[in-house]
């Protein structure tokens, strides 16, 4: 009996349970009788859930443990006596035997797998049968138990709703699980990294040269993991150059669109600017690398700036700034819109011009919100990957020359993790340490920004 068949069978049972329970509950109501607590369909659901949930839960658990049970059964079989002792080989032979038994593979890498396949098949069938029988039994038992509880006063609705609530709670816990997953995986790999490289060196070193030798008989680089040049490059591109582009353009756009533009203009321009945020970053990266970077380099060479590179910080920062414009402008838009209309009216009624009102009342009043928005934008910019991977450099330079090449945290993460797959070298683990730093920094920026924005909102509540 396959898993699918059992599942379908149980679902069918659930349907039957629903129908019979509902029918029974229909008889509760009627002229002259007290109003039953719950509608018949709730009674139906109650019984159906009792029939379904335990059985399906059991099936889920069974299908995850039965693999181990089957393997154990196969190993206990005399045919498995001459399997190699080495666990890795043994495991691969077993997994092949399973694939063969399940008709997923035509031939085996290992001849032993062929002899084990029938044993495997037999054991699989046996356990599937046991599991199916127990699941069906559970379904019957659950349904029957629930059915006996039905009565006009039985609070079926309350019970069913409690389950729905549980489901909702479970769904919202996924967010915590994800956060936990991120933190744990970053932390775990980073700890391994920091057992090889001191955190002090990592955080404060100015030398970044991670490409160590991969064999004993090779001379790679020294494996310097001083990430300061990376941090600087990230800040330089994401928090300085990009913001120099994005803040004035975003803020002024927001001001123009909210305060000056005719509704028709606003209706059209706002989505158009939003498109800038919807363009995938890989497209920006391509644009930066193909169009902007050469132009910037040509310009720098033409005016004789030394150290001009085709992977200039400026090109990447410029394009990133463009990408961030709608982000800044929508945050600014929100903050300005949150300033009560009364403020604006108050100022206009004093005889202030619109720009005076904006500069002296609206923007100062909205400032915390705008600042929060800019912080969020910075956090986005420093976590942005594709633009810098495609347009920023690989050389870990510590320079303030925007025409020179710098590298960033995200670029290096991609560099360190694509291609190479050694999971226990400092070089690969360094990517996780960089990821951890990035995570913490963006997290802090966000917490601060959201605090600021929230405080600000509350001020005008």
């Amino acid at each position: 009996m396959s898993l699918l068949a059992i599942t379908l069978l149980i679902l069918g049972l659930g349907l039957v349970a629903w129908l019979t329970a509902r029918a029974k509950a229909m008889a509760f109501a009627g002229p002259g009788k007290a109003r039953p607590h719950s509608l018949p369909s709730y009674h139906g659901w109650y019984v159906a859930l009792w029939a379904l949930v335990p059985a399906l839960l059991f099936l889920a658990i069974w299908s995850s443990v039965s693999g181990g049970l089957v393997t154990q059964a196969v190993l206990d079989n005399p045919a498995a006596a001459n399997l190699p002792a080495e666990p890795m080989q043994r495991a691969s032979i077993l997994s092949e035997a399973r694939a063969l038994a399940g008709d997923e593979l035509r031939a085996a890498f290992n001849p032993e797998a062929r002899t084990l396949a029938p044993v495997y098949e037999e054991a699989t069938n046996r356990y599937a049968l046991i599991g199916g029988a127990v699941a069906l039994l559970l379904a019957f038992a659950g349904g029957a138990y629930a059915y006996t509880r039905l009565s006009p006063h039985f609070r079926a609705r309350t019970r069913v709703e409690r389950l729905v609530m549980g489901l909702l709670l479970l769904a919202s816990l996924i967010a915590i699980l994800t956060t936990l997953g991120i933190v744990l995986s970053l932390l775990f790999e980073s700890l391994r990294f920091f057992s090889m490289v001191s955190p002090i060196e990592f955080l404060f070193g100015t030398n970044w040269s991670p490409q160590t030798a991969i064999r004993a008989d090779q001379a790679g680089s020294s494996g310097a993991f001083g990430a300061i040049p990376l941090f600087w490059g990230t800040v330089f591109i994401g928090a300085i150059i990009a913001m120099i582009v994005a803040i004035p353009l975003g803020l002024m756009s927001a001001i123009y669109l909210t305060q000056y533009a005719k509704p028709a203009v606003r209706r059209w321009m706002k989505p158009i600017l939003e498109v800038l945020a919807g363009v995938p970053t890989v497209v920006y990266g391509y644009f930066a690398a193909l169009t902007v970077a050469p132009a910037v380099r040509d310009f720098a060479v033409a005016v004789g700036i030394p150290g001009a590179s085709s992977e200039s910080a400026l090109a990447a920062g410029l394009v990133m700034g463009i990408m961030i414009i709608p982000f800044v402008s929508s945050m600014a838009d929100d903050s300005i819109a949150a300033v009560p209309q009364a403020m604006r009216d108050g100022s206009l009624a004093m005889g202030a011009t619109t720009s005076e009102t904006i500069k002296k009342v609206l923007v100062p009043a909205a400032l915390p919100g705008v600042v929060g928005g800019v912080l969020l934008a910075v956090s986005r910019a420093i976590g942005e990957t594709m633009i810098v991977v495609m347009a920023a450099g690989l050389a870990a330079n510590l320079t303030a020359n925007p025409f020179a090449s710098v590298t960033t945290v995200t670029t290096q993460i991609v560099q360190l993790l694509t291609g190479d797959q050694e999971f226990d070298s400092a070089k690969t683990l360094a990517a996780f340490a960089l990821g951890l730093v990035l995570f913490i920094v963006t997290l802090l920026l966000n917490i601060v920004a959201l605090r600021v924005v929230k405080k600000y909102r509350e001020a005008y509540e």
Binding site: L169, E189, Y260, G383
Partner: protein
């Protein structure tokens, strides 16, 4: 009342007023400038992509006359009946036949004239019409990259010259390249297609949607409608808000560490890509969902509660249906973001060279943005236009999704 009464008509006052109005005008122009400049960036970006990419949808073809009986191709039309046609075609050297025919027809020019994948077209033609094997057939086959680029006016001098000669012989034509929309990745820009990457994107998005939408909506409902205010729900809320701002590459690291290295799910597969992107998209849906739910006026809830609906009934009968357009808008926007995402997928290996479209969510695959990234690294001139063409396809999709979202938002936006 003042030190002296205000003389609104005095010269000083009038001058001052003029100055203030000039400042007003300047400020307004500055704002207009910012808007126009931002829009100009967008226009420039799009125009660049379209200008580069439009050529990616066309392909130059070369005429080739093959005299099959005279060629050294030993293939009987009868062999091509029924199911063993493929085997019969696989057994013969069509590539060689094609080369020979080209040399016979074009002599010197033949080298580097046809695309590497041109013989595939020949194979398809023969399979469709085995009768052509009995005589001389005239076929239009994809030209090589060099000729193709020359035909589009950007080639090397020798290729330009060759193209001119071919043109005089009326042996070339440039037309719509349907293969680009139906094929998969290839090493030769003249035969590449985006269908493989596109299908990978579709499968990935399917996984993402199937996970992120229900989980996102349910948590939004929980947090907005039921969650008591306590440490736990605060933690959930903080997690969600922060997840929405975590850089996407971090999700890639998570996928790599947890799904690949710990759970041993298949590398490069839409399954893993989809789960990773779902984790990224879910907070977006939760936040949009909460806003949509929040914007359903409390009076509706009061009304339903007031006649004795339970809280679950209130939500599922009234609040969710009313919030649905908002939730859908948020979902589409989140999905659009996921569709354009590259970095996390690089981390989980969806960057291999894969020449056949994936068949399922566990097959190795790549996705549109990653395909763009991979092609952008190719140096061959032919890939430049293909990259831009792929970008156009991606942008069309994203704009369509965003357009639907905006339409939904406008259509169902209620002022309560």
């Amino acid at each position: 009342m003042n030190v002296q009464p205000t003389h609104w008509r005095s010269d000083a006052m009038q001058r001052r007023i003029r100055r203030r109005y000039a400042a007003e005008r300047r400020f307004r122009l500055l704002g207009l400038g910012a808007v126009l400049l931002s829009a100009a960036f967008l226009a420039f970006l799009l125009v660049t992509m379209v200008a580069n990419g439009a050529r990616g949808f066309t392909q130059t073809e070369v005429r080739l006359d093959i005299d099959f009986p005279a060629s050294d191709l030993f293939l009987d039309p009868a062999q091509l009946e029924g199911s063993n046609a493929d085997a019969a075609l696989a057994a013969v050297d069509l590539h060689g036949t094609m080369r020979a025919a080209a040399e016979r027809q074009y002599g010197q020019l033949a080298k580097g004239l046809l695309s590497d994948g041109a013989w595939l077209r020949l194979r398809e033609a023969i399979r469709d019409d085995p009768a052509m094997l009995n005589g001389v057939a005239t076929l239009w086959l994809p030209a090589s990259d060099a000729i193709d680029v020359a035909a589009k006016g950007a080639g090397a001098p020798e290729a330009e010259a060759a193209y001119q000669q071919l043109k005089e012989r009326e042996a070339v034509s440039t037309g719509f390249n349907s293969r680009f929309l139906t094929g998969a990745d290839a090493t030769d820009p003249t035969v590449v297609g985006i269908w493989g990457a596109f299908k990978g994107s579709l499968l990935t998005m399917l996984v993402t949607l199937a996970l992120a939408f229900p989980i996102g909506v349910l948590s939004a409902v929980y947090l907005e409608e039921y969650a008591p205010r306590n440490r736990w729900t605060d933690m959930i809320e903080v997690s969600i808000n922060n997840l929405a701002a975590v850089p996407s590459i971090i999700f890639g690291l998570l996928g790599l560490a947890v799904f690949l290295n710990f759970m041993h799910l298949p590398r490069s597969a839409p399954l893993v890509g989809g789960i990773t992107l779902a984790l990224m998209t879910m907070p977006v849906i939760v936040i949009a969902g909460r806003n949509a739910i929040k914007s359903v006026p409390p009076s509706i809830r009061d009304a339903a509660l007031g006649i004795g609906a339970s809280r679950v009934q209130v939500v599922f009968h009234h609040v969710l249906p009313l919030a649905l357009p908002g939730i859908l808008t948020g979902t589409i926007i989140g999905m659009a973001r996921a569709l354009g995402e590259t970095a996390p997928l690089l981390m989980i290996g969806m960057r291999a060279f894969i020449a056949t479209p994936p068949g399922g969510i566990t097959d190795p695959a790549t996705v549109l943005p990653v395909q763009i990234y991979l092609w952008s690294d190719e140096v061959s001139r032919g890939f430049v236009e293909k990259t831009s063409a792929a970008i156009i396809v991606l942008l069309v999709f994203l704009l369509a999704m965003n357009g639907i979202a905006i339409y939904l938002r406008n259509k169902f936006e209620r002022r309560w």
